[in-house]
């Protein structure tokens, strides 16, 4: 199938009224959680996973994808209006966006963010459509050793996701892998770590682990130190850009899109990195660098385009290899699995409607975001006044009812409580939860491919370095670790993440 007919198929799926409706709900919810500091897309998608169980595969994945890029967008609204990034990737937007808002140019800043995001989203979606199929075709030749090496690569690059100690990130990955072993062994059927509880034979519920580690742990973390937020800008007027503004944002939007598209493919928080990279690039290229930090429109246009482009291209490794680039993508894997689809290179051939439907829906979702957000900005400003103390009981209840509704299994609920407290302790002690979740998702796959590869090679581990693709992947994994450990990069990485808090 060539690109045009594939895209036509995709649009026929994405333009189905039901799918448009759920895409709309997705971007609306995403914007909502993006706007509200304290609940991120990871927790939201984790909570909504059980709900999507009742929908068809296309519809549910379209909605979840919508939440993800909607949240990127909503985060920038909060950043501009109250100088508090709703999402980590919009931390940079806050620097100049808030200054613009203080000068009474909040409308222009929001419009710039919307236009930049839309343009970047459109370009990155096209890139996804171009590059995903050939990559998936290459991945079809992968055998067990290649998959094993690929998973190792995916896990090790996820270290870049975590700020702080690399040792802790490694330990979290290993803990995640171990948790993934709970349940019956795939080859012999031996129940492992189940305490004799029948309900655990199928393994720990992914949703319960995700909701516990990201949702409940985050709530406990917020309860440590409660404070109310203040909305600085009460009303937004004049969304139109002047001719001069438009002239100034063209360059930053183009450069931001390019940077974001490339960095988004890299596993490990590419969207955060790309907005920082774009900001510093614009500052360096600008004829008036002293304006940056005081309300330069370029400082909003570049990073916003970059993080939205990265949000789209981070779907490439997920859709072609089944390897998540960051925690939200790990949740998307969970969503695929809930629908009985194994994400990976086969999706494009076996479920073309799903594959192209998601891609087409991204473009529609981006369009919806622009239509939705500019007129509704007043509503989002109002949302910011909802206190957290009302929100979090809702999160806890939705999580419990939602998780219960998947399998009607009360052990899944106990698992939420267990992972809530373990996750809270680990986060409190300075460990990032994201690598744990990646490890948990990829653990069973890792074990299966390792054991299969060893059977193929009759117990000779050299098989992983003798096969060229596998060896290359392992080499890249090694490189990722070395790069993460290098002192100069470490310092840079710390700088990037320090500003984020």
């Amino acid at each position: 199938m060539d690109l045009i007919s594939s895209l036509a198929l995709g649009f026929s799926v994405a333009l189905d009224p039901i799918n448009i409706l759920y895409c709309f709900i997705g971007v609306l919810l995403g914007t909502l959680v993006g706007v509200l500091p304290g609940i991120g897309p990871t927790a939201t998608i984790a909570m909504l996973l059980p709900i999507t169980f009742t929908l068809g595969p296309e519809t549910s994945l379209i909605m979840l994808a919508g939440i993800y890029y909607g949240a990127q967008y909503g985060g920038s609204t909060t950043a501009i209006l109250i100088n508090l990034p709703g999402e980590s990737s919009s931390a940079v937007t806050a620097i100049d966006g808030y200054q613009m808002a203080r000068k009474g140019r909040a409308g222009a800043a929001l419009a710039t963010a919307a236009i930049g995001s839309f343009f970047a989203g459109t370009v990155a979606t096209l890139l996804l459509a171009f590059f995903a199929p050939p990559l998936a075709r290459a991945a079809l030749n992968f055998g067990a050793p290649e998959y094993f090496s690929l998973i190792v690569l995916g896990l090790l690059v996820s270290i870049a996701l975590a700020h702080g100690s690399i040792l802790k990130a490694l330990a979290m990955i290993v803990l995640g892998l171990l948790l993934g072993m709970v349940g019956q062994d795939i080859y012999t059927g031996t129940p492992r770590f189940t305490f004799g509880v029948r309900e655990l034979f199928g393994g720990l519920n992914f949703v319960a682990v995700a909701v516990g580690v990201f949702g409940v742990a985050e709530i406990l973390r917020n309860l440590e130190n409660e404070k109310e937020r203040e909305v600085g800008v009460k009303a937004v007027t004049n969304l139109w850009l002047t001719k001069d503004d438009i002239r100034r944002i063209v360059g930053p939007v183009l450069r931001g899109t390019a940077l974001g598209s490339v960095l988004g493919v890299l596993p490990g928080g590419g969207h955060i990195l790309s907005s920082f990279a774009s900001y510093s690039a614009e500052k360096r290229l600008s004829k008036t660098p002293e304006e940056f930090g005081k309300g330069a429109i370029e400082g909003v246009a570049g990073p916003e385009s970059a993080n939205n482009a990265a949000a789209q291209t981070s779907f490439i490794p997920l859709m072609t290899l089944g390897i998540p680039a960051h925690p939200v993508m790990a949740l998307m894997i969970g969503a695929f699995i809930l629908q009985g689809i194994t994400p990976g290179p086969n999706v494009i051939n076996e479920e073309p409607a799903l594959f192209w439907g998601i891609i087409a829906s991204m473009w529609i979702g981006n369009l919806l975001l622009v239509i939705l957000n500019l007129p509704l900005i007043g509503l989002w400003v109002k949302m910011l006044t909802i206190p957290y103390r009302v929100l979090f009981p809702a999160i806890v209840l939705f999580a419990c009812i939602g998780t219960f509704s998947i399998n009607q299994n009360i052990y899944d609920i106990y698992a939420i409580a267990f992972f809530g407290i373990v996750g809270y302790l680990l986060i409190r002690f300075g460990c990032e939860p994201a690598p744990l979740l990646l490890g948990f998702v990829l653990g069973p796959l890792l074990e299966e491919h390792l054991r299969r590869a060893m059977i193929i090679s009759r117990g000779d581990p050299m098989i992983f370095v003798e096969r060229p693709i596998s060896a290359t992947l392992l080499g890249m994994a090694l490189l990722a670790v070395i790069v993460a450990v290098l002192p100069s990069i470490r310092k840079k990485r710390n700088e990037v993440f320090v500003e984020e808090d």
């Binding site: 709900i51 009742t54 100690s165 040792l167 802790k168 490694l170 330990a171 290993v174 803990l175 892998l177 171990l178 072993m181 062994d185 080859y187 012999t188 031996t190 492992r192 770590f193 409940v216 709530i219 406990l220 309860l223 440590e224 130190n225 409660e226 206190p387 957290y388 103390r389 009302v390 979090f392 009981p393 809702a394 806890v396 209840l397 939705f398 419990c400 009812i401 219960f404 509704s405 009607q408 009360i410 052990y411 609920i413 106990y414 409580a417 809530g420 407290i421 373990v422 809270y424 302790l425 409190r428 002690f429 300075g430 460990c431 074990e447 390792l450 060893m454 059977i455 117990g459 581990p461």
Partner: protein
């Protein structure tokens, strides 16, 4: 601080050692197998051992480097009420049914924030109950009795 080490590193290291140790010891009960045909115990024992080693390493890096900031206060009330609510939900959802469990659970979690008064918590839980009914019962058709068998006479 009297302790000349990072409490965070020591605590997380200990947690990793404990969890890794559990998986490795429990894994020893299963067939280990050979590299050619790995048994169900192979990966847990190996990875558990790695986790113990990483835990020791994490703790070791913290020695001599006390935490820069004092640890935030423990949110005891939040931990007790939020986790308690989740456990309560699991234990009673089948017996008491949807409405009573959601009302009580919503009330208890709302109280875990010191900013919610009793009245505010009541309002929140009633509102949430209506919302959850609409979303899960009406919207998604969740199969769960509104009032469970424990409440039928």
């Amino acid at each position: 601080m009297a302790l000349n080490a990072s409490r965070n590193d020591l605590a997380s290291g200990a947690l990793f050692v404990a969890l890794g140790g559990y998986f490795a010891l429990e894994g020893l009960k299963y067939d280990f197998g050979t590299p050619f045909r790995m048994g169900p115990g192979f990966m847990p024992v190996v990875l558990g051992g790695v986790l113990v080693a990483l835990g020791v390493a994490v703790a070791a890096t913290g020695i001599g480097k006390p935490d820069a900031e004092a640890a935030p206060a423990w949110p005891w009330r939040g931990i007790a009420l939020v986790l308690g609510t989740i456990l309560f939900f699991a234990a009673t959802i089948r017996g008491l049914g949807f409405i009573p469990v959601v009302l009580i659970a919503g009330f208890a979690t709302a109280l875990s924030s010191s900013r919610n008064s009793l009245l505010a918590a009541l309002v929140v839980s009633a509102g949430l109950c209506v919302l959850c009914l609409l979303i899960f019962k009406v919207g998604l058709g969740l199969q769960l009795p509104l009032f469970g068998p424990w409440l039928r006479f």
